[in-house]
Amino acid sequence: MSRNLSTSTRQLLTLAALGAVSFTAWSAGADLGQAVKQATNWTAIGMFGVFVIFTLFITKWAASKTKSASDFYTAGGGITGFQNGLAIAGDYMSAASFLGISAAVMASGFDGLIFSIGFLVGWPVITFLMAERLRNLGKFTFADVAAFRFEQTPVRVFAASGTLVVVAFYLIAQMVGAGQLIKLLFGLEYWIAVVIVGALMMVYVLFGGMTATTWVQIIKAVMLLGGATFMALSVLWHFGFSPEAMFASAVKIKTDLALKDGKVAEAAATIGQSIMGPGNFVKDPISAISFGMALMFGTAGLPHILMRFFTVPSAKAARTSVMWATGWIGYFYLLTFIIGFGAITFVLTNPQFLDAKGGLLGGGNMAAIHLSNAVGGNVFLGFISAVAFATILAVVAGLTLSGASAVSHDIYATVVKKGQADSKSELGVSRITTVVLGVVAVALGIAFEKQNIAFMVSLAFAIAASANFPVLFMSVLWKDCTTRGAVIGGFLGLISSVALTVVSPSVWEVTLGNPKGSALFPYASPALFSMTIAFVGIWLFSILDNSARAKKDRAGFLAQQIRSETGIGASGASGH
């Protein structure tokens, strides 16, 4: 275990990505190189088969309802607040959250909790400042909101770029993670796993649009929450529902492992107790704050999440959906913490789950998977494996849909056709884009198999926080914002967040193989700097903007504000 402790900082920083896949590379960096292919697990494959067949029936039903572009993008705006809350949770709770965070808790205890909290705290900000305004101003994509009173072409081009860049990095990370995970869980070849994920995601989105995607996300959320609840309750039940007993057992096991590792009694006791407090995750305060900002504000700039607010009929339903989503996601993170501690007791002490060196069979991220076997036997193991696969599918379907919408609605219908595209041709473009995105995602997933892709999800969050969020925020809330300011500031945020990530240690040194200490940007996340650049850029280029367009932009604020606050003039349930 000493190896795990000494590398936990790096592992956790990598996990910082928080994406569905980061956990794979994370464990890979620590001990595996690549995920080891397991024996074919027929129970898991059977369970997953049931899920797939069921969701394909839903897709067939959804396809019969997907006739217009509006059906495709927003399920006709007819999803209820409660349903949308579950779907948002299903869109957001990735396999990284489930497997990665429970594994991080098993390895380092308290440090895992820091991630969970970071992923959750963006939601109130979305609720207080964005959700209802988005619903009142937008129709299909967040660019509808960002470009509301501005010149359409430049803002749409920016928003589509922001969307596609975020979606691309997020999607590659998901695909590579899916391939590694499925290789581990189901014993399938990597490329087969990637093709299956790509094909299923294309079928859901292509035929069922937002309706099918929503239901896949809802079903996945219910399965994941149900499975995690069962695991956490089993763990707590074992300890007579006493958290103190659960923590004491974990501390004792960590202490014993340290003793076995040759530590003297006192040092071993310190190591054991260290899981109960913050460890080495946060080294310098700048990284801590910057990373916190990327997670908090990145959540409010993820295009596939923002898009979900247009699927509900009213601002009230939009608010209700974030309330439910926050509740479910918060509950889920409490469960992963218990699952991680349960894994210390049930997995780390059971030779059945360990290799010769005392590491977990199949890699560090298998904590929750082995725990499911320990508490529920082979059938439950199959169920949890299928849930992990379903989790990735639901996330990639949401991502693909938002990427396709950016191309068909923002670029094709608004920029190319100047808003004159008919619903049918717009739908056609969405479908073509879906296929292209699916093929590209599969190709990149296979191309990146051996790459360390862990930084990609953190990059996606940092870009969302530094490009999409500032533009959305300023265009909705700041009167003097202009087209020029929004576009220049937004692109500055986009470029600086990508550039700073490339020259940060996790990419410059770990991925590109440059010598240690040569990275120009020393911090774990660019958000503190790139968000500042974006906001200052938007402000500066707006106040310096004296063009005729700028006067129009500012004059449009009052009407936009009233609509965003009251919904008067916004499309209703059937008005989409």
Binding site: F110, L113, I114, S116, I117, L120, V121, W123, P124, V125, T127, F128, L129, E132, P243, E244, F247, A248, V251, Q273, S274, M276, G277, P278, F281, V282, D284, P285, A288, I289, G292, M296, A315, K316, R319, T320, V322, M323, T326, G327, G330, Y331, Y333, L334, F337, L558, A559, I562, R563, E565, T566, G567, I568, G569
Partner: protein, 102 residues
Amino acid sequence: MEADLAATIASHPKYRELKAKRTAFGWWLTLAMLVVYFGFILLVAFNKPFLSQRLGDGVMTIGIPIGFGVIVFTVIITAFYVRRANSEFDTLTDAIRKAVLK
């Protein structure tokens, strides 16, 4: 939206009330969330021993309830906003709608 309708709504007392109340409420809650979250992050960054100190004789530390507390706080503050918005603010919005859209 036509300019005169926008002007009518903007000068409507109920709209002013809604805007003032909701803006203040939203920003105060945002501030509260920022203070709680970045307070937690700064504790992690600057005062690890504080979070690692034990409560009583067992292994439980003060950091665990604080961490759980941040999660619970996040969920509660969100529900708190939504409850008020879905009753009081929506009532005001409906009143404005009725007054201006005859």
